[in-house]
């Protein structure tokens, strides 16, 4: 126990005096989480919450024009700006300049044109003996047209979204107009006065819910992704000072000297690992605190950590153990500090990229999504997602915890046997 304590205190003293190492362990991840969260905020907003700016020019002051614009305005997905007093060229210019991502022009007399199209179709339903039920019109009047202009950068999914909304509101107006025409026919032909049309909106209710066992509805956003992602990244960056420390001790002869002292080498390794375990744990607490208390000061939403404290603690412990063991393995396998810092940092960056730290896994292709499953950072990040967004309990995060611990055991075993092997 004394050896463990001595080793722990020694590591703590050395680390506390390593200003560059401390900066790398604390300042770098704090800066990264702030910068990346702010940078990705708009991207995440575009993906989830931000309203698309839409410019509408409505020249149809009738049922169709009024109801379509009204419908679009009720959508939380679009920010509608009406501009009826500018020329078409000025209208297009605003889209070209990027002021609006979508432009919609509803032509004059659209309602009349739709009505005439419906009348013509109804007329076809009746036998010829009934005669002409409606006035006959010229062909050119039967082409109602809504012109839509898209910013070239607009993703296809947004185009489909606005087209879908337009079709939805158009269908409602068509149904309403059809009902009015049939009402007129009933009155003219059967002398039956129908009551005003009922509500054609929302005949089917879509009940939207997030699949979360605890009933939480936390929306994944920049903060919810970046804080856990960079926390894990920071914890894995322990690898660099830890591996460097191991090599420094080996090259200076200190570790050989320690081996001449009775007692297990594992005790001293555990003492070293304990120090970095504590550091990793402090990093995690610090980063989560930044997510909760500091990020809102920058106009970002506060990190929601859910209410699953025990699973959160267990996942954090598993991530730190995995990171520490990885550091010990890198330190044992590398022959120089330079080699360990290059391999350590590059491998962590690659594992972070694969694990969805830089780019969230839900934005990855199927191939990369499968590849990402080999990264321990992905196991940690998915476990945090489960806790923060899906209110997961211990059983739900247990597979990822076990994967992280298995990774830690493999790293430790590799380090131990390699160290024995080089003791030729």
């Amino acid at each position: 126990m004394n050896r463990l304590k001595a080793s722990f205190i020694k590591e703590l003293l050395i680390l506390s005096r390593d200003k560059a190492g401390l900066a790398m362990l604390f300042l770098m991840p704090i800066s990264l989480v702030l910068i990346m969260t702010l940078l990705q905020e708009s991207t995440f907003n575009k993906l989830s919450e931000k309203q698309l700016p839409v410019l509408v020019m409505n020249h149809d002051a009738d049922t169709f024009g009024i109801n379509v614009v009204k419908g679009l305005k009720t959508s939380t997905f679009f920010k509608i700006t009406e501009s009826d007093d500018i020329s078409k060229d000025e209208f297009i210019e605003k889209i070209e300049k990027g002021d609006y991502l979508i432009g919609i022009i509803i032509r004059k007399n659209s309602t009349t044109q739709i009505t005439r199209s419906i009348e013509e179709n109804i007329q076809k339903q009746f036998p010829e003996e009934v005669g002409q039920l409606f006035e006959s019109y010229h062909d050119e009047l039967k082409k109602p047209k809504v012109e839509i202009f898209f910013d070239p950068v607009l993703k296809n999914s947004y185009k489909q979204s606005i087209l879908g909304s337009l079709r939805h509101y158009s269908a409602m107006v068509e149904a309403q107009l059809m009902f009015e025409i049939y009402s007129g026919l009933f009155k003219d032909m059967l002398n039956i006065e129908l009551k005003p049309a009922g509500n054609f909106e929302n005949l089917i209710n879509f009940d939207e819910k997030y699949a979360s066992s605890g009933g939480n509805t936390i929306i994944p956003n920049s903060v919810q992704h970046n804080v856990p992602a960079w926390t894990i990244f920071a914890m894995f960056f322990i690898v660099i000072p830890l591996a460097s420390n191991i090599i420094k001790e080996r090259n200076s002869g200190v570790s050989a000297r320690i081996k001449t002292i009775p007692g297990s080498v594992i005790t001293t390794s555990l003492g070293k690992a304990s120090t970095y375990f504590v550091v990793g744990f402090i990093q995690a607490i610090l980063m989560l605190m930044i997510g909760i208390f500091i990020l809102p000061l920058f106009g970002l939403s506060a990190l929601q950590i859910g209410n699953a404290a025990i699973p959160l603690l267990m996942v954090t412990i598993a991530v730190v153990i995995a990171a520490t063991s990885y550091g010990i393995a890198i330190g044992s396998l590398s022959s120089s500090e330079q080699q360990s810092s290059i391999f350590g940092s590059i491998s962590v960056v690659i594992l972070a990229a694969l694990g969805g730290v830089w780019i969230p896994s839900f934005m990855m292709s199927d191939l990369m999504l499968n590849v990402s499953k080999i990264s321990p950072l992905s196991w940690g990040l998915n476990a945090y997602y489960d806790i923060f967004l899906r209110s997961a309990g211990i059983m739900e995060v247990l597979p990822n915890i076990l994967l992280l611990l298995a990774f830690a055991v493999i790293c430790f075993v590799v380090a131990y046997f390699y160290s024995r092997k080089i003791r030729v």
Partner: protein
């Protein structure tokens, strides 16, 4: 076990992986308790390899090492508890102070706090490091580091002390302090096994020497006896050169 022998080495062989010759080749040594034993030889002769095997840092390819009657292959922990090692390198933590370094090694040896606190102060004072006790090792001169390196190896009062070139690269004053101290602790009963390239120093300090080359022992005995046996040699250095040749090694 020979009478009073504290270290026995029988047919010790060490061949490193990939090497086509033995670094230590059928070496037999018998070191008596209380001796100041000099293990001398040119670079690459096998001195450090032998010391490393005696300390349990390297496994022998074959042969037997007994320390205080304990076969190191089977009782390495017990054997380690009676030895102290002062390696050739400055095996200290550069970012810790002198006191923190010594405290760490004392605790690793299982010393009680009450024991090592006073012990550390005594040794720091003895080696003129008291006023540097709370300074980080990286600020020390070469001589200061060597002295502290020695203290770290003897703090727990081992029965056997292995010293691998303890005075290399330091000034005359530091070398003198170390030599005097080693002489003193040997007189008080500590067995010392020492490697060095300083023939004059070895001649003065050692009660027994063994010269090895290419892993084999080529001379063994008390320094004065060895010198006497070789008529054309006036000192240990002459004998060393006549036995190992004047050709530069490594």
């Amino acid at each position: 076990m020979t009478d009073n022998a504290i270290i026995e080495i029988n047919k010790l062989i060490k061949r490193y992986k990939g090497s086509d010759s033995n670094a230590v080749d059928s070496l037999n040594l018998n070191i008596q308790k209380g001796e100041f034993y000099g293990l001398l030889g040119p670079n690459g002769a096998g001195k450090t390899t032998t010391i490393s095997m005696l300390c349990g840092l390297l496994s022998p390819t074959s042969g037997q090492i007994k320390i205080s009657g304990l076969d190191i292959n089977y009782h390495s922990q017990k054997a380690k508890s009676i030895i102290g090692v002062v390696p050739q390198e400055i095996a200290l933590f550069e970012d810790l102070t002198a006191k923190e370094n010594l405290r760490f090694f004392a605790e690793m040896h299982g010393m009680k706090k009450s024991d090592f606190i006073s012990c550390i102060d005594i040794y720091l004072d003895k080696f003129s490091l008291k006023d540097k006790a709370n300074k980080r090792v990286k600020t020390f001169s070469g001589g200061m580091k060597r002295r502290l390196n020695l203290i770290a190896g003897i703090l727990h009062s081992p029965q056997i002390l292995f010293l691998d070139e303890p005075t290399v690269g330091i000034d005359v004053q530091s070398r003198n302090v170390i030599a005097e101290f080693l002489h003193e602790i040997n007189k008080n009963g500590m067995t010392i096994i020492y490697t060095s390239h300083m023939m004059e120093e070895a001649e003065k300090l050692c009660s027994h020497i063994s010269i090895i080359d290419f892993g084999k022992e080529i001379a063994n005995g008390k320094p004065a006896e060895i010198i006497q046996k070789n008529e054309n040699c006036n000192n240990l250095e002459d004998i060393f050169l006549s036995l190992t040749g004047r050709r530069v090694r490594e």
